[in-house]
């Protein structure tokens, strides 16, 4: 029984790792070797692909651009979602339920629907090809998600906490920053994880809203694939590197996730 319960997660994780391993394997091969021979391990082990990415500014700038707008988006989304989630979890107000559903509907809007109008809108306000444009555009789906997650966590915090603090003479902003935020830090961790994740992986809007100076790494990859023929080794190395920031973020929030999931409704 004990042995059997280990089996399924192990097989599942093995299945998850296979394509990642294959990508990693290819990233250490030259394109000629990938096309010429089939092997489970790189025969002529090479760092050439990685060196190219770290020395060529069109490549490494892609990473910097992506990270810049993703961090901006996470900060904006969580910051504005915090007070809103508090309002939803603590008070009734005119149109609260409709407003909450309206927010959620934006999480449901297919980005393909909005690609063209977004291009026109951000060109009109002269933000096209800036990090801020992508960060703001990703707010469309990330703010509703952050509000939704945080509201769940805040509803789990007893209201007596607020009442006691106000009786002790705390003003609202001071209570919110000094007492309330530390209480739900696990929820903030989970919300930040999800906003980071969705902003990092989204490409359609990020690609539509940028051309040169804020181009995301994922878009750099597609361009290289089409103009320089298929440089598979380089592509694989770039792909492998896009996994790294995500892996760091998961590792960093892993305790919050376990704890946060356990205490919240998420």
């Amino acid at each position: 029984m004990r042995l059997k319960s280990w089996l399924l997660p192990t097989i599942y994780i093995f299945f998850l790792m296979l394509p990642i391993y294959w990508l990693l394997n290819m990233s250490f091969k030259t394109t000629n070797e990938i096309l010429g021979t089939f092997s489970l391990f790189p025969i002529n082990f090479t760092f050439e692909n990685y060196i190219k990415i770290f020395t060529d500014p069109t490549w490494y700038n892609g990473y910097l651009n992506s990270i810049t707008y993703v961090v901006m988006n996470t900060v904006i989304s969580v910051t504005v979602a915090l007070p809103a989630a508090y309002a939803f979890s603590r008070y009734r107000f005119l149109g609260d339920k409709h407003l909450f559903f309206w927010l959620l509907t934006n999480r449901m809007a297919p980005p393909a629907v909005f690609a063209l109008p977004f291009f026109q809108l951000y060109s009109a306000v002269e933000l096209f090809d800036t990090h801020l444009a992508v960060a703001l555009a990703h707010c469309l789906f990330n703010i509703p998600l952050a509000v939704w997650i945080l509201e769940g966590f805040m509803s789990g915090v007893p209201k007596e906490l607020d009442e006691t603090a106000f009786l002790d003479g705390y003003s609202f902003p001071r209570f919110f920053i000094r007492i309330f935020i530390p209480t739900i830090v696990a929820g903030i961790g989970v919300a930040a994880f999800f906003t980071f994740m969705y902003s990092w992986v989204e490409l359609l809007l990020a690609k539509t809203l940028t051309s040169v100076s804020a181009k995301p790494i994922a878009a750099t990859m597609t361009r290289t694939a089409s103009t320089a023929g298929y440089e598979l080794g380089l592509l694989a190395a770039a792909g492998t590197l896009t996994i790294v920031p995500g892996a760091f973020v998961i590792y960093w929030v892993r305790n919050y996730i376990a704890k946060g999931f356990a205490m919240g409704r998420v």
Binding site: Y91, F101, T105, M108, A112, W200, V266
Partner: protein, 287 residues
């Protein structure tokens, strides 16, 4: 739980409303605007009424893409939800392995979507891919770039690979929130593992599973980048889902009117489904 009514709470919500409205209302109005007009370029527009809506609703192309989308979403939900629950149930509850499992499982969730497509492309190609090579070596003729069935299976395998972990994480969170006392009580009553699952674990996971189904439904219904990079919607049109078709019409052929009308119908369908889910979820919570 009763909440006090306080209209000042609006002040806390205003930043969110402004930011989301800027992103949502203006583009949506642009789409509505296009959907009722015809243009021959040079920013000259003519009123067309509901012509585009009729055209889209009557076109067999839209019907086919829509059915394909439904089949895809249905299939991945049927695989990912039970598989996710099964993996979550058999995961360790405590100890160092929990973090290892969580970190490894969450990895696919944080890979950019086009990298996921590219990764599966080189993984499944019959000449250079590990998966394609292995299947062909077993004597099965497999080439997802030419065989419609193989393309479907590969796309579904990719989505299962990509997203089952989300269901696992959520289901696992639901399981962790069940107090030990429940299990002890079940043990005393001599309940079988099966009845523990049906009577205790599943009801307790209901809320997180609703979120999981809702998220998976929404995301798979708007899937674009991964199948686009993997198969390009082909061979033929066999994996052209709604978003792919939409982008083909809007940016490929630049038929703004039909594309806008299709966008609105598409959005409306997603909205309707989500409203049903949402109402069910809220009714559940109030009980």
């Amino acid at each position: 739980m009763s909440k006090p009514t306080n209209q000042k709470a609006w002040l806390l919500v205003i930043p969110v409303v402004l930011l989301v409205a800027f992103n949502a209302l203006i583009p949506l109005m642009t789409v509505v605007n296009y959907s009722v007009q015809e243009t021959f370029g040079n920013n000259v527009f003519f009123w067309e009424g509901v012509k585009w809506f009729e055209q889209v609703l009557n076109s067999s192309r839209f019907h086919e893409a829509f059915l394909r989308q439904l089949a895809f979403t249905g299939t991945i939900l049927l695989i990912e939800i039970p598989l996710g629950i099964a993996v979550a149930l058999s995961m360790p509850k405590k100890g160092p392995w929990v973090s290892v499992c969580l970190v490894l499982m969450a990895l696919p969730l944080l890979i950019p979507w086009n990298v996921v497509g590219a990764m599966w492309n080189i993984f499944a190609l019959p000449d250079i891919g590990l998966l394609g090579r292995t299947i062909n070596a077993m004597g099965i003729d497999y080439n997802f770039t030419q065989q419609p069935l193989a393309a479907w299976i590969t796309t579904i395998a990719m989505d299962v690979w990509h997203w089952t972990s989300l269901v696992v994480l959520l289901a696992y969170a639901g399981l962790c929130s069940i107090p030990d006392a429940y299990y002890q009580a079940a043990k005393i009553d001599g309940a079988s593992p099966w009845s523990v699952f049906w009577r205790i674990q599943l009801p307790k996971m209901k809320h997180v599973l609703t979120i999981a189904i809702l998220l998976r439904f929404m995301d798979s219904f708007m899937i674009y980048t991964e199948p686009f990079v993997l198969t390009g919607g082909g061979p033929g049109n066999t994996t052209t889902f709604l978003s792919i078709d939409l982008v083909k019409i809007a940016l490929g052929q630049f038929d703004l009117g039909p594309a806008a009308a299709m966008s609105l119908i598409y959005f409306f369908v997603v909205l309707l489904m989500c409203w049903i889910f949402y109402t069910l979820m809220m009714r559940d919570e109030e009980q």
